[in-house]
C-alpha cells in the first residue's frame, strides 16, 4: 500500500517536472545572451566538392556575427545522414540542427520529433524572415500546414551536356535536346559516331534519392503514389520508365556504374547528364580546359510541360532546450538569408530561394551576368513540382523496393512494366 502511494507520488513528481519543458516550447528567448553550443549535421561538409568549402565559409561568417554561438558540425554523406541522425537520437544525443533531404520529411516530422517552426518562433518573426522566399520552396517543408523543414540548399534537375562530343557527333551544341526524342537521337549519334556514352540520368544511384526519377515520371504526368496507394507501375509513370529502357536498348542511354555517372561526365566520356544543379561548380571545375560544358533545361515528353522536382535539403531543428532553439533558429535565419544564398548559389550551384537577389548587383547580379547557365534552372522553378515523400514507418523499405524495380526495369532483360508491377504489389503491403 505504502509502495503504491509512493509510486503515485513519484509519477506525479515526474510528470510535474516534465510539464515546464513542454510549456517552454513556446518560450524561446529573443536573443542568445550567454555562450551556447549547438550541433549541426550537414551533408555538404562531407563532400569533397565545392559544397564543403562554401559551407565552411558560411559558418565562419555566422561565427563572426554571433560570437556567442558555437556551431559544432557533424559531416555525414547525404545518403547516410538520416540513419546517423536517427542513431544519435536513439543514443540520446539530440542533434540541434540537421540538413536533411525532403524524401524523409514525413518521417522526420512524425517520428523523429523535429520542431515545427510555427510552434517555436513567434508568428511575426517567422513572417518577417520567410517573406521574400519562394512560396513553392517553403511549401516543400510543410506537413499538415506546419513548417518542419526550412528549405535550404535547393535545385532542380538540369541537363549538362558536353558540347565537344556534340560537335564530334555532328550535332549542333547551340540547340540542345528539348524533348526525350531529341535526347535519344543525340544519344544514339554520340554513341555511334564517337564511341563515348550518350546519355545518363543521376536517377539510380545510392546517393541520388528519387528526385530525378520522380521528375521524369511526373513530367510524363505520372505519380509514384496517390495517397497511400502506390502508382509507380501505372500508365504514364511506367511509360516514362519504359522510355528510359528503350534508350538503353538502342544504346543512347549508357550502361555505366549507377553510383558514379558524375565522374564519367567529369572525365568527358558522357554526352548528356541529367542531374542536380548542385554539381555545377564541381563539374565546371573538372571541365575547365578539357571540354566545353553546357547546361540546358530538363527535356520534356513531346509538348507536355516538364515537372522538375526539387533535389536538395531543408534545415530541421530538433533542440528541446529554449536557448539552443534560439541559437538554432539564428543559424537557420542566417543560412537562408540573402548573404548566404549569394554564397550558396555562386559557390556551389544551388538555387537562391530568394529571387530578389538574382539581379541585385549587391548580391548575385554580377555573378548571374557572368554565369547565365543558372537561368534554365531558375526558369524551371516556376514549374517546380514537389518530390513525393513516402509515408508510414516502412517508407524507406517501400521506396527501396520501388528504386530496385526501376533499376531492374531500365537495365534488366525482362518486361519493364511487369517488373514494376511486381514490385508495386510487394511494396504496397508496406504502406500505412
Amino acid at each position: 500500500m505504502l509502495r503504491r502511494t509512493y509510486l503515485k507520488l513519484m509519477s506525479t513528481l515526474v510528470v510535474g517536472a516534465l510539464v515546464p519543458f513542454s510549456a517552454a516550447f513556446a518560450d524561446m528567448p529573443a536573443t542568445v545572451d550567454g555562450p551556447v553550443t549547438i550541433s549541426f549535421y550537414n551533408y555538404n561538409l562531407a563532400s569533397a566538392s565545392a559544397g564543403a568549402d562554401a559551407t565552411k565559409e558560411l559558418l565562419a561568417a555566422f561565427k563572426q556575427k554571433f560570437p556567442n554561438i558555437t556551431v559544432e558540425t557533424i559531416a555525414v554523406p547525404s545518403n547516410e545522414i538520416m540513419s546517423r541522425v536517427q542513431a544519435d537520437i536513439v543514443a540520446g544525443q539530440q542533434p540541434d540542427v540537421a540538413q536533411l533531404v525532403f524524401r524523409d520529411l514525413i518521417y522526420i516530422a512524425s517520428d523523429l520529433g523535429a520542431n515545427a517552426l510555427e510552434d517555436m518562433v513567434s508568428p511575426q518573426e517567422l513572417k518577417d524572415h520567410l517573406s521574400g522566399m519562394i512560396p513553392q520552396g517553403l511549401e516543400l517543408g510543410k506537413v499538415d500546414g506546419k513548417t518542419y523543414g526550412l528549405a535550404y540548399t535547393f535545385s532542380t534537375p538540369i541537363l549538362y551536356y558536353n558540347a565537344d562530343l556534340f560537335r564530334q557527333a555532328g550535332l549542333d551544341p547551340d540547340s540542345p535536346p528539348k524533348t526525350w526524342d531529341d535526347v535519344k537521337k543525340a544519344g544514339d549519334a554520340i554513341k555511334q559516331k564517337t564511341g563515348k556514352n550518350g546519355f545518363f540520368p543521376g536517377a539510380y544511384g545510392p546517393a541520388d534519392g528519387t528526385f530525378v526519377y520522380q521528375a521524369i515520371v511526373m513530367s510524363n504526368g505520372g505519380k509514384v503514389r496517390q495517397g497511400n496507394t502506390l502508382t509507380f507501375a501505372d500508365g504514364d509513370a511506367a511509360d516514362a520508365v519504359k522510355m528510359l529502357r528503350d534508350m538503353v536498348d538502342s544504346g543512347a542511354h549508357a550502361r555505366i556504374d549507377v553510383a558514379s555517372p558524375a565522374d564519367t561526365m567529369a572525365s568527358g566520356n558522357l554526352g548528356m547528364f541529367l542531374y542536380t544543379s548542385a554539381l555545377y561548380a564541381s563539374l565546371k571545375k573538372s571541365a575547365a580546359g578539357k571540354f566545353d560544358l553546357r547546361v540546358a533545361a530538363m527535356p520534356s515528353f513531346g509538348d507536355k510541360p516538364t515537372a522538375p522536382t526539387n533535389s536538395g535539403s531543408a534545415l530541421f531543428v530538433f533542440s528541446k532546450d529554449p536557448v539552443k532553439q534560439r541559437a538554432s533558429y539564428e543559424l537557420l535565419k542566417f543560412l537562408t538569408s540573402k548573404e548566404a544564398y549569394t554564397i550558396i548559389t555562386s559557390k556551389i550551384g544551388y538555387l537562391p530561394l530568394r529571387l530578389d537577389i538574382v539581379d541585385d548587383p549587391k548580391y548575385l547580379g554580377e555573378w548571374v551576368k557572368q554565369n547565365p547557365m543558372i537561368r534554365p534552372n531558375l526558369e524551371q522553378l516556376n514549374r517546380l513540382t514537389p518530390n513525393i515523400a513516402f509515408p508510414g514507418p516502412n517508407y524507406r523499405q517501400a521506396e527501396n523496393m520501388m528504386m530496385d524495380s526501376v533499376r531492374q526495369a531500365v537495365f534488366g532483360s525482362g518486361d519493364p512494366i511487369a517488373t514494376l508491377k511486381t514490385a508495386e504489389q510487394a511494396a504496397q503491403d508496406l504502406m500505412p
Binding site: S83, Q86, I89, V90, D111, L112, G113, N197, P206, R255, I256, D257, V258, A259, T264, S267, N269, P393, N394, R396, Q397, E399, N400, D404, R407, Q408, F411, G412, T422, A426, D429
Partner: protein
C-alpha cells in the same frame, strides 16, 4: 578480416565442452575465473541473439519512440517471397564456392611448391603474397575500382590496347559477381598460404626422409605424406571459407557495388545489413539474420563432423 583470430577460435570452441567436475562442491573458484568471459559472451552474443530472434517477429523501425508491432511470421513470409532474397542466397553460395580455389587450392599448392625456396627468395615470395592481406579492405576496394573502371581503368585500358574491347567488371551484371569474388579471394590468398606454409613446415622431416630412402618420388611424398598431414589445416580453411567466405566480401560489396548492378553481387549478409541500417526495417533484418544463423549453424555442425572424421593428426 580484422578479427581473424576470433574467427579461428570460434568454431573450435564449439567442440570444447567443459568437463563435468569430478568432485561435488569443487567450489566456485573455476566459475569466478570463467565469469568475465561468460558475461561478455552472454552480453555480446547470446543476449543479442535472443533479442534478434524476438525482433524477427516484430515490425519496427528502430526508434525507441515508435511502437514494436507484433506481426507473427509475416517478416519471414515476406522476405522469402522477395526475389531479392533468392538472388542473395544463390550469390552467397557462389561467393563460397568461388572462393575455394583462392582460399584453399591455390595456397595449398603454392605452399607446397615453394617450401624448398631458400633465403631471400622465400622472404620475397612470402611478402609478395602476403601484401594484399594487410591492405585495409576499403583501400583495396577503391584501388580495384580504379583498376577496373570502365572508362579510365588500367585493366580496361590494357584490354582495349590488346584489341579485346572493354569489360564492365563492376557494371555488367554478368561479370560483377565474379569480380567481387576474385577481389575477396585475392585478399585471402596470403593468409591461407601463410597457414599452409606454417603447417607444412611443421611436418616432421623424418617422414619425408624415410620416404626418400624408400625411393618415393616428389609427387608420392606430397600425395601420401604431406597432403594427409596437412588435412587438418585444409579442413579448417575449408570450413572457414564456407562459414565466413560470404561475410568477407561485405566490405567490397558495400564500397564497390552496393549489391548491384541489378542485385547481382548482393549476398545474404549485405541484404540483412541493408534491411537493418539502410531502410531501418529491424524486423526484416532480424528475420534474415535468423535464417542465416540457422542455416550456418547446420553447416558448421556438418563441417565439424566431417573434420573429426577425415582429418589426420600426427600424434
Amino acid at each position: 578480416m580484422t578479427d581473424i583470430q576470433a574467427d579461428l577460435t570460434q568454431p573450435m570452441s564449439i567442440a570444447i565442452r567443459p568437463a563435468p567436475s569430478r568432485q561435488r562442491g569443487a567450489g566456485i573458484a573455476p566459475w569466478l575465473y570463467l565469469a568475465p568471459a561468460l558475461i561478455l559472451l552472454f552480453m555480446w552474443t547470446y543476449v543479442p541473439l535472443v533479442e534478434a530472434f524476438k525482433l524477427s517477429f516484430y515490425q519496427w523501425n528502430m526508434l525507441p519512440t515508435a511502437p514494436q508491432r507484433f506481426v507473427g511470421l509475416d517478416n519471414y513470409r515476406r522476405i522469402f517471397a522477395l526475389s531479392e532474397m533468392r538472388t542473395a542466397l544463390w550469390n552467397t553460395l557462389f561467393y563460397i564456392i568461388g572462393l575455394f580455389p583462392m582460399s584453399v587450392i591455390i595456397p595449398l599448392f603454392v605452399a607446397i611448391l615453394t617450401q624448398d625456396l631458400q633465403g631471400r627468395l622465400r622472404m620475397l615470395y612470402r611478402t609478395l603474397i602476403f601484401v594484399p592481406m594487410i591492405v585495409p579492405p576499403v583501400v583495396a576496394a577503391i584501388l580495384w575500382r580504379w583498376l577496373l573502371s570502365d572508362d579510365h581503368g588500367l585493366v580496361n585500358n590494357l584490354l582495349a590496347l590488346a584489341g579485346l574491347g572493354t569489360v564492365g567488371f563492376l557494371t555488367d551484371p554478368h561479370c560483377a559477381l565474379a569480380t567481387l569474388t576474385w577481389i575477396t579471394g585475392w585478399k585471402l590468398i596470403g593468409f591461407s598460404t601463410l597457414l599452409f606454409s606454417a603447417a607444412n613446415a611443421g611436418i616432421d622431416r623424418s617422414y619425408v626422409e624415410a620416404a626418400r630412402i624408400d625411393g618415393a618420388s616428389r609427387w608420392q611424398i606430397v600425395r601420401d605424406i604431406r597432403l594427409p598431414l596437412l588435412s587438418p589445416t585444409i579442413m579448417l580453411l575449408s570450413m572457414m571459407t564456407i562459414l565466413f567466405g560470404a561475410q568477407w566480401s561485405f566490405a567490397y560489396i558495400s564500397v564497390l557495388t552496393n549489391g548491384g548492378p541489378l542485385k547481382s553481387t548482393t549476398n545474404i549478409f549485405y541484404v540483412l545489413w541493408e534491411y537493418g541500417f539502410e531502410t531501418l526495417s529491424a524486423g526484416w533484418s532480424a528475420a534474415a539474420g535468423m535464417i542465416t544463423f540457422a542455416s550456418f549453424a547446420v553447416i558448421a555442425f556438418c563441417c565439424l563432423r566431417l573434420m573429426k572424421r577425415y582429418a589426420v593428426y600426427d600424434n
